[in-house]
């Protein structure tokens, strides 16, 4: 009996060792990235003077734009390495803007952030609260300070700056524009060269364009309800938040009027589909002629241009008191708690990605607004915009554009606003109730930051 037990103990030990080796070997296959980053840092410490030392940057980026998503960005990364042989870029596609934000912040929380990332410009305060990013002012000063920054459109920079510092560089930026189907305009007896200019005109046009099976206008709601409300808020007076990201002004009479107008289009005039319209289906509806007009990001311009089987126009969003649209899209951030060498390399990469010629090309490929003014002076851009003037609409609208909703505790504040807007559009709240509730919830979420 004893013998048996002894033997079994030995075999147990052996099997435990086996198990450990299984887990160990799966560990090895699991984390090549960790190992490489671990080997990089000591070597950088040793070879301070060596110019050829290798730096590898992890680069998180969201959103499929302009063709196969990995190919485009990887091509740019390789181009960069060609110019800077000692820096390799490891692009990691991380899904939608929201997914990318989650991944990045999770990385920050676990002390393993990316080195550089494209994130929504509105993540500024969340990232600052986590102490995740570095100000770029020193780098900017080396490039010429204000004169460097002045080439960027100020409306885009407004989401990058707070407290006198600049924390991110605009990369793929947009405004919301009105796309309209010229053929359907003609069929409805409207002048196809003239888009609606005011809220009243818009209602009028949409009524004429609404037919059985075709909506007059579609405004996407899911995920971006706050962004769309911002258009009406800006057209009716003021933006929704303060520059320091600590206060929101949701329940002003102007905003209530704006939301009322939006919900009336659906409920009273029946020219916009009721309920929550998916962000993703709006462009398909437009391309299929199921809606005659749509509000959508200019980042969609190349897609519409390529796939529309009809003549289409692009114009400013209609105004009430003034024209207006929030900006949108992604900026490039450089992260804290990484090697200084990596930060320097990351800055080089950021500059490379936003170079005038590249900004122009990126804009032509996607429809996003080129973030630099000089990009519109380049030959290729001049030629492109003469053939296709619609590409200039979003840029020209920048004159009336303002920062996208961005505050401390951004996730909660945006939910505090988006949920009640959805409630209005699905008919369970009045605009006034909704925005009062949004204000109350957002104030609660912001209270700790106003102490």
């Amino acid at each position: 009996m004893r013998l048996i037990s002894n033997m079994s103990n030995k075999t147990i030990l052996a099997s435990l060792c086996l198990m450990l080796s299984i887990t160990a070997c799966s560990n090895n296959t699991a984390a090549p990235e960790d190992q490489s980053s671990a080997t990089v840092s000591p070597s950088t410490a040793v070879n301070e003077t060596n110019k050829d030392e290798k730096v590898e940057l992890t680069f998180y980026y969201p959103i499929a734009v302009g063709g196969p998503l990995t190919a485009t960005v990887e091509g740019m990364a390789q181009e960069f390495t060609k110019q800077n042989p000692n820096i390799t870029i490891k692009p990691v596609y991380t899904g939608s803007y929201a997914d990318t934000a989650v991944k990045t912040q999770a990385g920050v929380q676990s002390k393993n952030p990316p080195d550089v990332a494209v994130l929504q410009s509105t993540e500024l305060f969340s990232l600052l609260d986590m102490d995740a990013i570095i100000p770029l002012d020193d780098y900017i000063a080396e490039e010429g300070g204000d004169s460097y920054l002045s080439d960027f459109y100020p409306a885009f920079l407004s989401n990058s700056q707070t407290g006198g510092k600049t924390y991110s560089i605009p990369f793929q930026r947009s405004t919301i524009v009105l796309y309209y189907n010229k053929d359907l305009f003609q069929a409805a007896g409207l002048d196809p060269e003239k888009a609606p200019q005011t809220w009243d005109e818009m209602r009028d046009y949409a009524k004429k364009l609404t037919k059985d099976g075709t909506w007059g206008l579609e405004i996407p709601v899911s995920g971006y309800a706050y962004w769309m409300l911002q258009t009406f808020a800006l057209q009716n007076g003021n933006n929704l938040m303060s520059e320091d990201g600590k206060k929101v002004m949701f329940n002003t009479p102007e905003n209530i009027e704006g939301l009322q107008y939006w919900s009336d289009l659906a409920k009273k005039d029946k020219v916009v589909p009721e309920g929550v319209t998916e962000w993703g289906t709006v462009p398909s509806d437009f391309l299929e002629g199921k809606t005659a007009m749509m509000y959508h990001t200019t980042g969609n311009l190349s897609n519409v241009k390529k796939n529309a089987k009809f003549n289409f126009g692009v114009s400013f969003l209609p105004k009430n008191k003034s024209y207006g649209s929030p900006t949108g899209g992604g900026n490039m951030y450089i992260f804290k708690d990484i090697d200084k060498k990596k930060q320097d390399a990351a800055w080089k990469f950021v500059q490379f990605m936003t170079e005038t010629e590249r900004a122009a090309q990126w804009s032509m490929d996607t429809g996003y607004v080129a973030v630099k003014k000089s990009a519109y002076e380049t030959e290729r851009m001049k030629k492109y915009t003469t053939d296709f003037p619609a590409a200039l609409v979003a840029r020209d609208q920048l004159e009336y554009a303002a920062a996208e909703l961005s505050t401390h505790n951004n996730g909660k504040v945006i939910k505090a606003l988006s949920d009640p807007i959805q409630a209005v559009l699905t008919g369970s709240m009045t605009p006034e109730e909704a925005l009062n509730k949004a204000q109350e919830e957002a104030d609660k979420a912001l209270a700790p930051f106003n102490k």
Binding site: I12, L16, P273, G275, V276
Partner: protein, 297 residues
């Protein structure tokens, strides 16, 4: 003799515990330790405003009671459970009874009921999203072809839960069918034969023989189904993100939002504690409600 006996026990004990060790290690590391940690963190304020967690006692819990979204999410989850659990169980029993008969095409039928089990929820959500999409979704096309108006299933608070329930029943009923098929194997054949001899109707046979003898399976399956209705949230990520206005939001998704979108770790922990409480409540109900033998005989 006594000494040997003692040694024998000691050896068996060691052997048994060594056999259990690996399982116990992972059990503690990923079930008991995190539960303890969660309970602790639920007593702290730990969000974007506080880089170092601050002890606040039960404040998170009192805040939760005042949180409308929390109550909405709880009632959604309740309705989701009420919608999915009985329906999929009844369907599963019917499927199993019919699939248990030797008929032509039975195996095809079985496959077609069971295959959704093999599809990831994420993939299911992609497919059904294109079924529910207004204008060119399958459902919308069908409704148009019979002259009905278009309904934005996922965009209206009154329909979105129904849409989700139907999808989940489609996915789960076949899985539960398998358990019932197994249960049916254990019912002695002669019971049916003697019932047939006595000329008992089919409904009576079901009521008096099949259903009572399937009871253990039914109870087991209903626990699985109930737990699933609280842990299945993958589809929300793809289809609605909890919208419109939280009409399709469920508890686990709200935990995900709190943790990884609001970065409110204290609240995420508090919600997790509530979730654990709910699941333990089911377990107790189960424990008292039924014959203990069913599970772990």
């Amino acid at each position: 003799m006594d000494n040997r006996r003692f040694r024998f026990h000691w050896k068996t004990n060691t052997f048994a515990w060594l056999l259990l060790l690996p399982s116990l290690l992972f059990l503690f590391l990923f079930t008991f330790y995190p539960i303890a940690k969660t309970v602790k963190l639920s007593l702290f304020q730990a969000d974007l405003a506080t880089l170092v967690p601050v002890f606040i006692g039960l404040d998170n819990y009192t805040n939760l009671i005042g949180d409308e979204v929390f109550w909405k999410v709880m009632s959604n989850n309740l309705w989701f459970a009420i919608g999915t659990v009985p329906t999929s169980i009844i369907l599963a029993i019917l499927m199993a009874i019919y699939c248990n008969k030797a008929m032509r095409g039975t195996s095809m039928v079985r496959i077609s009921f069971f295959y959704p089990t093999m599809i990831p929820m994420i993939a299911v959500a992609n497919v059904w999203l294109f079924i529910y999409t207004p204008q060119y979704g399958l459902l919308s096309r069908l409704m148009k072809s019979i002259g009905q108006g278009d309904i934005n299933w996922l965009g209206s608070p009154q329909y979105v839960m129904w849409a989700m329930v139907i999808m989940v029943v489609w996915k789960e009923a076949g899985y539960f069918m398998i358990f019932f098929l197994a249960g049916l194997q254990n019912i002695p054949h002669d019971l049916y034969e003697s019932a047939q001899v006595d000329g008992v109707g089919r409904w009576t046979v079901f009521r008096k023989i099949t259903f009572p003898l399937l009871m253990p399976t039914t109870l087991f399956v209903s626990i699985v189904a109930l737990t699933n209705s609280f842990k299945l949230v993958d589809h929300i990520m793809i289809m609605t993100k909890g919208g419109p206005n939280n009409a399709s939001n469920l508890l686990l998704y709200y935990i995900y939002e709190s943790a990884f979108s609001f970065w409110d770790q204290g609240m995420a922990s508090t919600l997790t504690v509530v979730m654990i409480g709910v699941l333990l409540l089911f377990a107790t109900l189960n424990f008292f409600g039924l014959d203990k033998k069913i599970h772990y005989r």
